[in-house]
Assembly symmetry: C2
């Protein structure tokens, strides 16, 4: 058979079952059973790891999940969600037993996979494997940088660790390579990852498809590797974490040998324990095996008391609060700035900065690539918005994502505001998510638009988690020219616009680029993608009112009395639209030109605005250097675009080849008017 | 500064310049200069590596790029395209000097990045980093499996190697981890990768963002690692390749220390040599440094003769042809089957198999999940289509991608028709591309639809390369229920449909699933994605004519005389559409129901068909459990769908929560009719 579903991987086992770990086990199997859906095996296998970490090391405050200096805990193997819910419940987070009983039910706080923002204490949304670990790398980096920036002699107000649990799946995923390689480069010694090495994945015993020497692999990344240790020996895990905490210049991986579904006599060590309820009979047998006599969803008082951590957490937090008060006394401005940064508020004078920037940009008259306009925006914003933390996936000189004096983030050195992510698009995106989740920074990063494909699921996760993360995607169409079809985005703009809660901007000139940046920064609950041109684009003339209208996402750029049709255009094709308008003028055909720099923002405008811009009864024609079907939702009767893959040639020739030209657009409009007369 | 663009990494250099390598260097710098665009640095740095491999080891036949038993050469760092074009030109492929002079020009055979199918001798399209290497793993696996299947005692008709060149970028990308981990597991000893270890990427010296001990990393994967060696010492590279060829159970990585832009006095060892022309002055200085006196695009006769390989290649091929003739004499049926398989023709009786399958599927009446219907199709097809090579990214029991007797592909064992890819979606997709490019197999692989995000760029590459690869994406909507929003596809169906040349199917029952599979297999120039439900779906009744119509991608499933509206539906929502139709019947509102299992196929039908199905003057209402804007292109006046992220709950409740119900659809239709009266 193809899988090895019946292979059983059993490790040496002391046979001792700790009551604290058993409480986690029992809650997991009971909740999965009640939901008749879920993953009992991983929580059962990681119960001792969790007991060691949460029982003795994790510095958190269940009464205040937002304490800025708490340790972060990331469950990268998010299907083990019941482990996390059990931990949160038992230590005292606002997650009552009723919620555990509603595991995987509509509107519960215990969804199938952990969701940040929904459940107190859940630091990031996990499930898509490998990304939680990568978020953790971003969090650990943010902690380091924030400490570099705010700590002062005698005052370590930023000083916490990031812990991640992960499984075989996370380690098979490519993104684990990108993230862990960077964690090594950055020497993130306060990152401690515990690997649930259970030898089983959904298809069976992993030996048939996963034989990495993971310890050696992580040594190659410059990590401190501990183990393999017995992951069911709480004391051994405790000692390993203690060792890990003493690492001064390397992140740590603790390899914990475990048995998936530990405690279930029939299913321990098998893939079958992974993703289905144990069933009443096997649950009874498990209770017997592990020596757990309490009923379903019952926790004996003694065990509950052992887990309870509200007061200990509050005491920790109080110590920090006193330290912060001392810091504030000595560094009042820094303390205020720290609080602003952690709260995610923009600088008080941001609106003024933004207004000056937009005014300047709206007066620009030179033809300039929007990637270059974007860099000018960054140069203006970066000094005023110190939380901006830039970067690129090894395309800095192409994306133009750096700014004067940004300073590089480098392992073993303090500070820096620019991250060379290397050729790691997916890793970059998920690390940015981790940085945003940690707080204190507003991350942005660049690559070519085509390679948004590589990072797509992390962009989606940012949208799902409502994170302010900004993607700078340059070389946004066939307009990049010679690099050819592998590098030419055709479907990407349309495709990104489909991700819920993601703002997509495709500005046509410096003014729209400036507004796009400002708008993106002002969205505390939403990521943005800026799609920027490689090639120069002419500046469009606008009235001051029109400059303000840009933030609506779509507006009338150039109107004509008695317009008979509306041309809708985005980005680099707006100039073709206005040129076509002028050509049509000479033929006595009056048309309106609408610029649609952000359809996602435009779609959120009141109906009145949208109808006023689009016109109610005029035929609409769209133009964008990408797939034309996208225009259907705006009721376009025709569109110019690119419905196949691109071509390698100088940009002007590629445009001509695909018929993206003002005269072609003019002809199309005239033909449509003739046909619909 | 953020980058290290001025950092220079110079390795010890013998200072000797071999004329054969210089010919590659000179052609690369001349072509880039003439195009005023391109990447000279990598070809200059890899010139000796290429000379060693192509001069002494590569078993190919420039006169016949399709010789089945040729060695495969993959340039994973595809921006070094001029190196490959120079090699193809000099060894005698049909790539005249005129084409090199038209580097990166419209309709030349020398686009910016190598394109399979366009240029003779280019084995795969590269540019998006890491994927070429992964294609190479797929090719090496295909070679092994094809050999297992067709070689017989005394007859090794399949016996070639796969060579890949790759750079730092490929090794930073996560997909390199997925692919190389699997190559180790599979013990692909005939895969030989040469790493252009030049210490430079676009942002500068890689030490700031890439410090992996790559040799150690690959040892952890179970590879044979050779070096670091001096990549400019042709003899050393030659020896290393010789060693690599003797590996009996491990793939080999040869670490070649090189200097990017070698030969350019001003730019060698710098990022500046990477992606821009050297300029006339520096080219002159380079010619002097390397001792190359020939003019631009001129190759001295002696050097040309050294490179010329047509006759040697033809002789190699003749030896193989004789061996194949002997094989045919002894195993005539196997030989015929081999030729069919390599040609990519389906079995002669495929149509009959397909017809029987579709007839059976169209008679099914039970409610069954389309993933389960898909598995039934596989069970029927697999014995008749031995080239089917299945797999899953560790979700076999969920994707239902295995079939009886498929047998697992395992390292160190012969054969198998099912690949446990592990949790490596992107790697799976790009390995499938490599398998399809190699020939002999028809690969398919499964994961959850949401994780098509992870593999998206490889799906795009399959579409760009026109490869017959089939993606089985199950759990295709909110209908998966409890796993929640991280796992619920909302934008993915619409988003995949935007990729040019990709067929996307979302069947509504067993009959449509069978047609989807058959259609996908019958597309020699196009990949397909099958979007399948987790939940059971009722069988729709159809006339025999309607069963035939399914292959049109869209057809009238249930009509009414005097229909006043058309409901368009896909997949799991088709049953809601027919239920709504019946509800509306009771209100005296007659509507037509159109099933649209594949909009991409439907869009290719003649206009007459499309208009007949959609109706010309009837209001259209769409329903799909995904983003509603997608329906705009079909002129829908309204649509039911999901425009935000999903929810974790039992599937029926999630459907209800989002208002995806027959009565809601009925109300929407009635309201639209009232509004448009």
């Amino acid at each position: 058979m193809a899988g090895n579903a019946n292979d059983r991987v059993l490790r040496e086992d002391s046979g001792r079952f700790d009551p604290m770990a058993n409480a986690l086990r029992a809650l997991a199997i009971d909740a999965v059973q009640k939901a008749n859906s879920g993953h009992p095996g991983a929580p059962m296998g990681m119960a001792e790891m969790a007991t060691a970490l949460w029982g003795a090391h994790l510095r958190h405050s269940p009464g205040n999940p937002h304490w800025p200096d708490r340790d972060r805990f990331i469950l990268s193997n998010g299907h083990a969600s019941m482990l996390l819910y059990a931990l949160l419940h038992l230590t005292g987070y606002d997650l009552p037993m009723e919620e555990l009983k509603r595991f995987r039910q509509l509107h519960s706080k215990t969804p199938g996979h952990p969701e940040a923002g929904l459940t107190p204490g859940v630091e990031t949304t996990t499930g898509p494997l490998g990304q939680g670990l990568t978020n953790a790398v971003g969090m650990a980096l943010a902690e380091k940088l924030l400490g570099d920036e705010f700590n002062r002699a005698g005052h370590r107000i930023v000083d916490h660790r990031t812990y991640a649990f992960l499984g075989d799946g996370c380690l098979m995923e490519g993104i684990s390579h990108e993230a862990c390689s960077l964690a090594g480069v950055w020497r993130l010694n306060k990152l401690i990852a515990l690997y649930d090495d259970n030898g089983i994945s959904i298809d069976g015993a992993v030996a048939g498809w996963f034989r990495d020497d993971t310890a050696q692999r992580f040594a190659a990344y410059g990590w401190n590797v501990i183990g393999p240790i017995d992951g069911h020996d709480t004391a051994a895990v405790d000692r390993a974490i203690g060792q890990a905490k003493s690492s001064i210049d390397r992140p740590t991986l603790i390899v914990c040998r475990t048995t998936i579904g530990r405690g279930s006599p029939a299913r321990a060590g098998t893939a079958r324990s992974h993703g289905e309820p144990l069933g009443a009979e096997e649950i009874a047998a498990t209770r017997k095996t592990i020596g757990w006599e309490a009923g379903a969803f019952e926790i004996p008082d003694g065990v509950r008391a052992q887990w309870h951590a509200i007061e200990r957490g509050a005491a920790r937090e109080a110590v920090w609060n006193r330290a912060f008060a001392a810091y504030r006394a000595q560094h009042p401005e820094l303390a205020a700035e720290f609080e602003r940064r952690v709260a995610g508020s923009l600088p008080v004078d941001f609106r003024e900065t933004a207004a000056a920037l937009m005014a300047r940009a709206s007066q620009a008259s030179d033809a300039v690539a929007t990637r270059k306009s974007s860099q000018q925006v960054l140069a203006a914003l970066a000094p005023a918005v110190p939380e901006l933390l830039g970067g690129s996936a090894d395309l800095t000189g192409s994306n133009l994502t750096d700014f004067p004096g940004c300073g590089a983030v480098r392992g073993g050195q303090p500070g820096g505001r620019y991250i060379n992510y290397g050729v790691r698009e997916f890793g970059m995106a998920a690390i940015m998510n981790g940085i945003a989740l940690h707080g204190g920074y507003l991350p942005y990063g660049g690559t070519f638009l085509t390679f948004s494909d590589y990072s797509r699921n992390a962009i989606r996760m940012a949208a799902l988690m409502k994170l302010r993360v900004i993607h700078v995607f340059t070389h946004d169409s066939i307009g990049l020219g010679e690099d050819g079809p592998t590098h030419q985005s055709v479907e990407h703009a349309a495709s990104l616009r489909l991700i819920p809660n993601l703002d997509v901007w495709r500005p046509c000139d410096a003014a729209e680029t400036a507004v796009a940046w400002v708008h993106a920064l002002e969205q505390p609950q939403r990521p943005s993608a800026l799609l920027l041109s490689r090639q120069s684009l002419p500046a469009q003339p606008r009235t001051p009112e029109q400059v303000i209208d840009i933030q609506r996402g779509g507006y009338v750029l150039s109107d004509r009395p008695d317009a008979r049709a509306v041309i809708l255009a985005t980005g680099s094709e707006v100039a073709l639209a206005t040129a076509a308008q002028q050509l049509l003028d000479t033929q006595g055909i009056a048309v309106r030109v609408v610029s649609l720099p952000s359809s996602t923002v435009f779609d959120r405008q009141p109906k009145q605005w949208r109808e006023a811009v689009l016109g109610r009864d005029l035929p609409r024609i769209g133009i964008e250097a990408g797939v034309t079907c996208w225009w259907g939702q705006y009721g376009c009767v025709a569109a110019l675009g690119v419905d196949g893959f691109g071509e390698s040639a100088p940009a002007a020739q590629v445009y001509e080849h695909f018929g993206l030209a003002a005269h072609k657009l003019g002809e199309l409009v005239a033909a449509q008017l003739a046909a619909h007369r």
